[in-house]
């Protein structure tokens, strides 16, 4: 046995192993580092026992030369190794672990199969501390100066999961600023904070010692109220930051690209996916520490940029998949095959799979059943196809995981066997069973049998359904002519598609028109001017300004949108739509805004600085207040960009007038990623930072000081514990970013949803952040959530990439699971038509009078109409009354 690197070397593995149970491809391999034969030419036991004779020790490394037109670098990141800094005792104290170690401890496939145990005594830790910013936000050698961006939120996730494991657990988080700046993260933070037994303590924490007997770890920390304290914990988790990928220097020199001072890829300010070498792009955390949605933006976005270079050759290497002809089995008795998956140990260690298979064979219409180690592995999937053909199966049930990920794969195995894919049914015995009942093995086995019995009952009634091809209009509509909309439109147009760009204002540019410089030093107006010029000059981009959308109808591949603009009324037919309507800025009602001219928003301040307003630049004293209009009850989210904007303005003012007194009143400074450097720079340039709490907000009044009119701002200094009074000439409010006023209307037109805070809601917050649940509609820019310019550009290219994926096809496939009306049963009451929010049902004149009909391409398969129909005339295919009722009957 050798340490298993996937489980952070906490548990052991063998030299022959799979990397981890969800690895792609899921193939067993021999680790040359630990194989006795490869190291010392002895053993060879595996060759002897392998019945398939699959082990070949003569294989050697092959070098393959591939000619490519573009390269995307996505080497990821390396977790910070706390061993390089001695101070945390990592590697010396057994119960000090990193967040990566802890992640594995929490996981069902982890070293203790999902149990959190201490290395010292294998006991469950009860009192756990997290130390934030390990390796990040520090200038000491070996540490990183930047903020790693993701640790605050992943720690909160770990705390929530810990409480799931042990509701009595006591969790303490030692932190600096809480940087929950991502979409919905503020709510997530509150959720964590409100759990019982959770303490968030704002303090540096150091590890003092380990108790030689209990092996508990002592942490020293300080709070303003109680001074320095020491406390013992069963386990300490170091929330380690993100380093650039290992061997980044070598990587950079190999590809001839430049790195930034932190070892990440050097970004071009106006295009963070472009490296310093043309044709080489970067995606993911090699851009800099980033969360999953950003990685997905850049993955798709870098793809789109490669497409701009290579679209003239699109599809040349693609091969169309050919399926055998479909066998009509609708008249046959059901012959059901059931495949029960072990999912490695995920299911197998809880559910008695052989007994489940045996039971399954007793069910009506089941003619075949077997177990599989990983049904989703290539060989097992092929086995399903082969057995289906061999045994003449006409329905297949796979008892494994959630259909969410793998149903398409298994449906495909049926198609390969010449059976309609809708004859496939999935029984979820993992998420719904083995993962939640890991300690009740007998009951879990019984439940697996129940779930399979229900699936088999349903499978008996399944019907073959036809998916149909819809033509795709190769034109795109982009709603919103700001930075996001223009960037996206250009990338789509550069790949050969017509784009209609619709802007409600008389000019293109959006919010970026009010921005003048970025932290990274980009001249925004110059860049914007160039971008607008390129948009107007592009032969395939059609710009509509002063435009209002009056109607939008249709569906993926075939939308029709009516636009009133300075060109008159235009009816635009398009295959895809991108929502890039941007956002607005909150108009403060607090802190004398609107009552005193010296109080302005951060954007207005930027405008004044850019205009060279002498009064502002020569001011003696300026105060900024952060979090105005958000992170409160009305808007329970963080506007993400304001901390960076305020730092940017402060640095600019210091550059123009080094003697100006600048004070920033903040709650948490959220200068995540490399922006931390600018925060530090501001601090070094004597910008003062004073933290306030929402319960004790700063007070502002207009007053006189020795004849000079001032804004008198008072605030409690939490460190000194006393009230401070600052007399300022100007006050800048970091006003919230709020959803654009047009959001609701646009959402209605394109039938897309909004999240709780009123921004557009993407299909999946992590994995599908530029798409909507509604097919053919995409999202980018601040319409999604507040974001900085480089992030907007990332997402704009990301949306373009997804649009191209759609538009590069001649047809799209629409689901067969849609509603259908039995006209003989329809009594023309119209209940279904009223119920359908997609407008998919309409009256059609027949010889028997008006009857309801469904437009299958508009039907999204929610099935609400079924429950409104008094006669049962309308049925959602694949979820018919018959199918569901029989499944219910089988439950009993």
């Amino acid at each position: 046995m050798v340490p298993d690197p996937f489980n952070q070397d906490i548990s052991a593995n063998k030299a022959v192993h799979i990397y981890f149970s969800q690895a792609v491809p899921l193939i067993t391999y021999i680790d040359p580092e630990s194989c006795l034969y490869l190291k010392e030419k002895k053993c060879l036991i595996c060759q002897g026992v392998c019945k398939n004779d699959a082990i070949d020790f003569n294989q050697t490394e092959e070098k393959v030369e591939v000619n490519v037109g573009a390269i995307i670098l996505s080497p990821g990141l390396e977790p910070f190794d706390p061993k390089v800094r001695n101070e945390y005792g990592y590697g010396k104290m057994q119960n000090v672990v990193t967040s990566m170690d802890y992640e594995r401890l929490l996981c069902a496939t982890g070293p203790y199969e999902g149990e959190i145990r201490r290395a010292s005594d294998q006991k469950h830790p009860h009192k756990i501390a997290w130390i934030q910013c390990v390796g990040s936000r520090r200038v000491t050698p070996g540490d990183n100066r930047y903020c790693s961006s993701v640790c605050c939120t992943y720690t909160q996730k770990q705390v929530i999961l810990t409480k799931d494991h042990d509701p009595e657990a006591e969790c303490t988080i030692f932190h600096n600023d809480i940087r929950s700046y991502g979409k919905d993260f503020e709510r997530y933070y509150q959720k964590t904070e409100q759990l019982p037994g959770i303490r968030f303590i704002r303090s540096y924490a150091s590890i003092v010692s380990e108790n030689p007997e209990s092996k508990n770890v002592t942490i020293r920390y300080a709070t303003t109220g109680d001074g320095v304290k020491e406390e013992d914990f069963d386990m300490v988790v170091l929330s380690v930051g993100l380093n650039p990928p290992a061997d980044f220097k070598n990587l950079a020199s190999k590809f001839g690209i430049e790195l930034n001072e932190h070892g990440f890829c050097k970004a071009i300010p106006y295009n963070p996916m472009e490296t310093t070498r043309p044709g080489i792009f970067v995606s993911g955390a090699f851009q800099g520490p980033s969360d999953i949605p950003e990685s997905v933006f850049t993955a798709s976005g870098a793809g789109s940029q490669c497409g701009e270079l290579l679209s003239y050759r699109r599809g040349e290497l693609a091969e169309e998949r050919i399926y055998p002809p479909e066998r009509d089995v609708s008249q046959e008795e059901p012959r059901i095959g059931v495949f029960v998956c072990h999912c490695g140990a995920n299911i197998g260690r809880v559910v008695n799979v052989p007994s489940t298979v045996e039971y399954t064979l007793t069910l009506p219409h089941v003619v075949y059943a077997q177990e599989q180690l990983f049904s989703c592995a290539t060989n097992c999937a092929k086995e399903i196809t082969d057995v289906t053909k061999e045994k003449g199966l006409n329905r297949v049930v796979v008892a494994a995981c959630s259909p969410r990920t793998l149903e398409p794969l298994f449906r495909d195995t049926l198609r390969e066997a010449g059976i309609n894919p809708y004859y496939y049914e999935m029984a979820n015995i993992r998420e719904h069973n083995s993962w939640v009942h890991s300690k009740e093995k007998e009951e879990a086995t019984q439940k697996a049998k129940d779930i399979i019995r229900m699936s088999v009952a349903r499978a008996c009634h399944l019907e073959p359904l036809q998916e149909f091809d819809l033509p795709v209009d190769k034109t795109a509509l982009v709603v919103g002519g700001g930075l996001a909309g223009m960037t996206c439109a250009l990338s789509i147009a550069n790949q050969g598609h017509e784009v209609h760009l619709v802007e409600k204002e008389p000019d293109l540019g959006g919010t970026a028109r009010k921005l003048h410089y970025t932290l990274e030093g980009l001249d925004v107006q110059a860049y914007l001017g160039d971008l607008i010029r390129r948009v107007y000059q592009h032969p395939r981009i059609h710009v509509y300004t002063d435009a209002i959308i009056s109607d939008a109808s249709g569906y993926v591949g075939n939308f029709v949108t009516r636009v009133k603009s300075e060109r008159g009324l235009t009816v635009i037919k398009h295959g895809a739509a991108v929502i890039a309507v941007g956002a607005d800025v909150y108009k403060p009602t607090e802190y004398l805004y609107g009552k005193d001219d010296r109080v302005m928003t951060h954007l207005e301040l930027e405008e004044q600085i850019a205009k060279g307003n002498e009064k502002v630049i020569k001011a003696e004293s300026l105060v900024m207040i952060q979090c105005v209009g958000c992170r409160n009850e009305d808007r329970n989210y963080c506007s993400r960009i304001c901390c960076s904007v305020s730092i940017k303005n402060a640095l600019k003012l210091k550059e123009l007038n080094p003697r100006m007194d600048i004070t920033i009143l903040f709650r948490d400074m959220r200068t995540y990623g490399f922006k931390e450097d600018y925060y530090r720079e501001a601090s070094e340039k004597d910008v003062k930072f004073i933290r306030y709490t929402p319960e004790d907000k700063p007070q502002v009044e207009a007053d006189q000081e020795e004849g000079r009119p001032v804004l008198r701002i008072s605030v409690t200094d939490l460190i000194l514990g006393k009230r401070l009074v600052i007399d300022a000439d100007y006050l800048a409010l970091a006003a919230a970013v709020i959803p654009s006023a047009t959001t609701r209307e646009i959402a209605g037109f394109f039938k897309v949803t909004l999240s709780l805070d009123g921004f557009f809601k993407e299909a999946h917050v992590k994995l599908r952040p530029v798409e909507f649940g509604t097919d053919g509609v995409y999202l980018c820019g601040m319409a999604h959530y507040p974001k900085l310019m480089p992030e907007t550009i990332n997402q704009a290219y990301g949306a373009a990439g997804r649009v191209i994926t759609l538009l590069s096809h001649d047809t799209v496939i629409a689901s067969g699971s849609v509603c259908e009306v039995d006209e003989n049963k329809c009594i023309s009451c119209g209940a279904c038509i009223t119920a359908c929010t997609y407008g998919a049902i309409y009256f059609f004149d027949t010889l028997e009078g008006k009857k309801a009909r469904v437009n299958p391409v508009l039907c999204k398969g929610d099935g609400l109409c079924n429950t409104k129909c008094a006669t049962g005339a309308i049925q959602l295919k694949h979820y018919t009354d018959e199918e569901i009722l029989d499944q219910i009957d089988a439950a009993a």
């Binding site: 799931d164 939640v436 949803t753 429950t867 009722l885």
Partner: protein, 212 residues
């Protein structure tokens, strides 16, 4: 498929098959993945279903709905455990409520038969104009709803039960009263109105009511 696809028939089919409790899980309200907001319909179905359970003498706590997102596994576990505990407390279907097997069967069958009619009533009379959880609960607790429910559904349900029993064999008022556990005057009232409408008649010879 949306929680709005869950039909009253599904719920009562489960009870008919001897399930002691039915739980419906839906997405969080106002966070629809479609644009349907079908979970409000599911809520309305559950609140109506509880009224019906109460009407036929079953504990309404046997039916529950909860809203949660896919990321709230802990909440799901909590709600499920709590529901299972509650249903165990209430005990096997009908037993704790003092309904014998026959009465239970008749009552559940009567509801199932009425489902298409209830859908019509729900559509015409029981819509809540405001989409908020509070408004739904308030409406279903209101006197107005009680009145509507009694007028439109409750009477129909008793008649439906009487018809089912009479189709089995002719029965006297006393027999019907006993099986259905209702008071005699109420049964008489329904028999009278059903006679007038021509659903049942009194067979003088057998001194029993029979279907007309």
């Amino acid at each position: 498929m949306c929680s709005g696809r869950v039909d009253l028939e599904f719920v009562f089919r489960a009870f008919s098959k001897g399930m002691d409790g039915v739980f419906i899980g839906g997405c969080r309200l106002n966070e629809c993945n479609y644009i349907t907001h079908g979970n409000y319909h599911a809520l309305s179905l559950v609140l109506l279903g509880k009224k019906i359970l109460e009407q036929i003498g079953l504990n309404p706590e046997r039916l529950r709905i909860a809203f949660m997102s896919a990321g709230e596994g802990n909440l799901f576990a909590e709600v499920t455990n709590d529901f299972v505990k509650k249903v165990k407390e209430i005990g096997p279907l009908g037993q704790n409520e003092g309904l014998d097997e026959q009465a239970l069967k008749v009552k559940l069958e009567a509801v199932t038969k009425l489902v298409p009619y209830i859908r019509l009533v729900e559509r015409e009379r029981l819509r809540v104009p405001v989409q908020s959880e509070e408004a739904y609960h308030k409406f279903f607790k209101s006197d107005e709803l009680n009145k509507l429910f009694n007028e439109t559904i409750a009477d129909k349900m008793v008649i439906s039960q009487i018809m089912l029993l009479l189709r089995e064999r002719p029965r006297s008022t006393g027999e019907l009263t006993e099986i259905l556990g209702l008071n005699p005057s109420e049964v008489s009232r329904h028999l009278n109105s059903s006679s007038r409408q021509g659903f049942v008649r009194y067979d003088e010879g057998r001194q029993r009511f029979v279907p007309a």
